[in-house]
Symmetry: D2
Subunit: 464 residues, 4 copies
């Protein structure tokens, strides 16, 4: 376990985020004794891998570093003796996300690529792949850390740790980073003078903030951000800026995350999404266009630094967080981070063996979350429901059982139950057929008996 | 505590259900050494009390019993030395329920008088009254049992036990009775040859069924009731008959209760309710008409038995269950009943000190629920969410805090969040002003600053 | 699963208790459609099996019943298609119990055949055998109920259910039966007019009692049994009658079981045991003599009923409880019994998946315990410690790890830690060598390196 | 809450530890903007306060600091506007500890001034006083932090937080400090390169250790400290050095604390204590002599630094830990410390609202413990038992109920039950009469009815 001459592997290396990752490593060159960087992708991502991979090489070269950058479609070759493996892949690429969002929206239902109908399907597609990767890792790099920022990061991390048994997994998200910056800015204090405690699950967490005199500033931040005088402004690129109800948030007594808008003010969020859908500007479509522009930039043989445009991508800070996590493990830096990790009672309201997103220092043996304890009833109930839904989604993803999937759709608060749940589920199954081998039998049955479902999906996707 | 020569008190004695209650007592005349029956009501219910009270007297007389029936508006006089107190009152009478249902439906939102927007307001109106009754009981009949079947029965019972501290409270509901009968009928077996375990909260429970050979029949019942070949038929008068998804219920592995339709197939339930609303036939309106007819019948000086028409009222079996509960306590009968009672770990997924609705024998010292344990994740999450919502509603009912009420509306899955939650909350507050003294200040503020809210409510109620 | 023409198997059929068991079946002949009774024993028990087996045949014949009684050393033949399997075997026979008691007592330490040093060794010897039996049952009688009354009944039942995975196991003990009778007698009320709730683990439970007016009589019983005016008298044949401290029991607020003497008043219990040891009258020795007398009686070809002397054996009621449990399962009698069964949250202070001893009706699908909830702190702590000890013993019994066994000895409150724990452990390992294959390697090591241990054990056993 | 110009108060300021405390403040003069130090004591401690107080003044002066040192018997004057209050008082002075230890030992029972019979009586004497102090603080310094290092530190801290409601309390102990140093030394690594997690309760905690490569070193430390080749050496001055059983500790999988000797190897510890008792060298007697010598030194008007001899006192590092805790709160230093603080689920095996001793950074708003989770069964059971005992002791200390106190004695594993428990309890009650007003009635009764008890105590104390 002498980690010098590091081999760092990124699965989904052809992603447009890769330059941020490379920049993150370069920034931490004194902390990370990197020898090799391996960018892995699949056949369909070959071209993107080539483009962004060459750019990565230019970045490393421009930094004057002796690191070698390897591009490969051979995952097993890359994993061999790896020290850190980060995952940022997207099964089915952005086209899958377009389906995840557009099919529900065509019925007036939120797609929401993390916790909504779309997010559940992303989990169905991704979880079998992450479990496969872990099987390879057991054989090829049994001591490596797995840093997951593939969405839905909470469910994918839970599958990896609880079902795959890979204890050395940490899930990451950029949402808390934005909230930290927001608080510092609103209070006009340096971020590192504040103490933050986040607790919840991915894209569904709350936080509290203290200053260095020991005073809790949470209530004041609620006033500043959501109070009558505030000009609420979401710091997230990908979430529409609808104001929370000030009185409710005051009663909550904690700061919500941006994604709580989908649960606390769902009608307005839905309305906005439907407008985007009508204009052909769902988030996935916008991102696809942005990506196309980014890859055009990346092709420039003179570009050897992360272009500013990448920050508009929405997932900014994600990759930097991954680099910091790796650096903190590598050097026992004990950086205070917000990580998806095993609960083990940190949040007493949630199952002992589930995955939660919480604050704590990242040590050389992994995250050591601060204890959180219990939530007040209104927050407790809603997060328990989300966790029950997540567990049901993960079970469906692994077992490929249609009833379980329908159950997950039924209890998911962003999806209506009844006929609509079944309609959406059937259409999404058909639409994602090639990436859902575990549901193959049921999909065949739908295709055989519900021609209207197949027709609807084809028509919608063509019109895209 | 020598309970002979019983004094039994019914608060809300002017209810149209009273004849069923009286019939229940008469049926159990050998078990219940009744001396006095006191029917209590308030000024607004005076006339109904007189009508139904006289009928009660005729019923007792026809049964040749020496019991005296007392009609009074003086609650304290009635409570003095009472042995059993049953509560079936409705603060604001059926007109309040009409508001509870029609205001939300006018915006296309379910009112739902138990767990929806309407149910939350029923809790706001009722909980302060039940706590007042308990204060009187502490002084006037400190050993009496309180048998609550005022809705929302779960929240009212939780307020009584947890906040009022009245340990000798049992909450009752007729829903489980219907499900027992349904199972027996579908399996073509006598009901008492089956063993039932119900678990959940009021109007949100599941059940499992075994036969006397020890075989669990739950899965078979799911097939019979919800399977492809079944002709699903709700046994509940007041719940629209929409089929559950068979695959989901199979995955659930327990039998749902009728009210789960509002959560599992909400769109269809909403659609149906909106149709009723448009026809002026919301449940409250239908009930009001039924009640009017019943009271016409009750006026008949020759009627001295419970008329068949009462069974159409929807709450049938409620009063009989109350009589059986009293008889079981009185005689240590240990009748297996489903009762809202202190959790104390019976359902490990819910707070230790909350109220749950579970199965068990009713002994002379009260219900002794069978242990239940944990639910599978999808059921666990959704009931935990409901309990968190209930606790928030109870807190709002006691504290009269607007933010807490808004928070309850926000997390209640039958109410959309955002602007709509606030609109409904404000309108319902204004509409129920006279029965919500704890919210007086906020209601005054709304009336002063939101004339459109006041106007909307007035207009809607006039058009009723 | 049509259980008519029952095949009932008793493992350890050569026990002196068998006549009580046969008597119990005969008493319930109308409830139990028995076809065959199989008494199984091992080579060493062959002679006793022949004696008691013949007597069983005479008893059945005298009762005029058509049942066949089979005696066999072939366990698998007996288990084939069995409906009920009861276990009352003793690995190593009474000689093993003599070692369990005398070796500790020779050092001035309690042996105590259920929870003390002796009990732990009984668990080490018994648990591998019960797991073997279950393996046979999986193959030969997958639907049978396993009724265990082999001590330590709690740990053996936990091994069967949690580690063996045999859900249809119920553990029985006669201690609660005695306490029920005692309460009825002290209150001068028929036993069936009282309602009992027992909770705890085998030989370590407390109980509360209510009468049929709903009044709790626990405090009154504490006064009657343990108060200043009482003449405390243990109803248990095998537990020395030392008075509890009245003030402590009043603070406890529940009735202790007889075995609590070993924990609450350990010095006096130890003193008494040492006296017995010195006189060569440890419980095992007394029992061995009683058994010898019983088998002499059993040999009488004219004896065809359970002799009165059997009641002095100490375990009286055990077998009758087993018959009642079987009859209650068979007929869905729902007899209120105290059974070792899966906790599943019945006692919230103990692990969800452990085995507890609690009250509840025995239905056709098994025991349905009444929920208990939490204990007050002093009771909570001590029973949690006992359960932690039990789990450690079971782990040691399965894994055969010496450190785990030493850890169990160290935390067991009836065994001193330090040098004495190790001395006792080593001596008992050597003494029981032939029945502890899982510890073979360590025992060989002790024999090779600690001749004084071997010598001490030989000498002590010879002097017996 | 602008904490500059600090007023720091020490209750029990006449303690021999005070010079370490003063030295600790002086060492941190750049972090602690102290204005006033108040040393408070009671009439009986007046002389010691004068001696050590003058020395404190000399130390401050020698350091060239402008701080004023105030000596007072007026606690309320001292508490007025205090910022930090530390408590190191001993109700009944060292003579009380002598009784705590000698009375049990005269019967061959451990006194053990923290968790044994002595510790329980120290709790009985101390808890009413700490609750009184808190009442004063509510009025006089509502924002102050209470830093408790009065033993039994765990129970006193639990009384302060849970019963006194003083959330801003932190309990401290020097035992973890010694274990940190021991681990660093054994591994030959700087202490700050190791990551420690301690969990348990005061004087009953375990710990795990990681190095900066992420490797857990716990097993290696078990080998080094307790393995066959080790020369075990307790780092604690006040605990006799008996070796743990290596195999048991390996099975435990965590490092024990020194006090676990009293539980894991009680016989040897008792034997050693009895020897000390016979020689008149119980720990209390030794400490009393040490103290006398220290106060002789302190009288020296030229001594203006902490004398080396103080380190032999046993409680070394205690005061320095208190200073570091204050400095860490004051400056948001986030020093990783082991503190007695509210559990809130940090250790899931223990009650949510109890006090535990755990690791975590000390922030400006107090300790933020790292989550710990669950223990393995053998450790879980024994600590749960200790916590149940602690809760019972605290209840007895507050209520003054004899039965509760007897119950605590009965379940405490260091005290035999039965007649001995009662004997010890009665004798200690009589011996400490003047400091146990809550038990006055019972003590009077004992004095009136048990002259032999009174005589025994008098005789023993005279012979001291």
């Amino acid at each position: 376990m002498t980690r010098d001459a590091l081999k760092i592997v990124t699965i989904g290396g052809g992603s447009s985020y890769t330059p941020e990752l490379i920049e993150g490593y370069i920034k931490r060159k004194d902390e990370l004794p990197i020898k090799e960087i391996w960018l892995v992708d699949i056949e369909e991502g070959k071209e993107k891998l080539a483009i962004v991979g060459e750019m990565a090489k230019r970045m490393v070269k421009a930094a004057g570093l002796p690191w070698t950058v390897h591009l490969t479609l051979n995952r097993r070759e890359a994993l061999k003796d790896a020290d850190y493996v980060s995952t940022q892949f997207r099964v089915g690429l952005l086209n899958a996300r377009i389906k995840d969002e557009r099919i529900p929206l065509s019925h007036g239902v939120l797609g929401q690529e993390t916790n909504g109908a779309g997010g559940m399907f992303k989990a169905f597609r991704t979880i079998p792949v992450i479990l496969d990767i872990i099987k390879d890792m057991e054989e090829l790099c049994p001591d490596a850390w797995l840093v997951n920022f593939t969405n839905p990061a909470g469910m994918v991390t839970e599958a990896a740790i609880k079902h795959g048994g890979w204890k050395k997994t940490a899930g990451l998200c950029n949402v808390p980073i934005g909230h930290r910056k927001q608080a510092a800015e609103k209070l006009n204090l340096p971020e590192d003078e504040l103490f933050f405690k986040f607790a919840g699950i991915n894209h569904f967490h709350w936080h509290r903030v203290w200053d260095k005199t020991g005073k809790e500033r949470t209530a004041e931040l609620i006033d500043l951000i959501y109070g009558p005088q505030s000009e609420t402004e979401s710091h997230l690129k990908n979430i529409h800026n609808v104001p929370f109800h000030y009185e409710q948030i005051k009663d909550l007594g904690m700061l919500p995350c941006g994604y709580h808008r989908y649960y606390y003010i769902e009608d307005e969020m839905l309305e906005h999404s439907i407008e985007e859908f009508k204009k052909g500007e769902t988030r996935a479509q916008v991102v696809k266009a942005t990506e196309a522009r980014l890859f055009e930039l990346y092709k420039d043989p003179n570009l050897d630094y992360k272009p500013k445009e990448l920050e508009e991508r929405g997932g900014t800070h994600y990759s930097d967080a991954a680099c910091e996590l790796i650096a903190s493990i590598q050097n026992d830096k004990r950086t205070d981070m917000v990580v998806s990790t095993a609960n083990n009672g940190t949040i007493t309201d949630l199952p002992y063996d589930c995955i939660v997103e919480v604050s704590g220092p990242v040590t050389s043996h992994g995250p050591e979350p601060y204890n959180w304890g219990a939530f007040p009833p209104a927050a407790r109930g809603i997060i328990q429901m989300m966790k029950g839904m997540e567990e049901t989604v993960i079970r469906a993803a692994i077992d490929g059982d249609y009833g379980t999937a329908l159950h997950a759709f039924t209890v998911n608060p962003l999806v209506p139950g009844g006929v609509m749940a079944k309609t959406l589920l059937d259409e999404l199954l058909v639409a994602h057929k090639e990436h859902l081998p575990q549901f193959a039998e049921k999909i065949n049955e739908i295709e055989a008996t519900q021609p209207e479902t197949v027709a609807y999906v084809s028509h919608l996707m063509e019109s895209n």
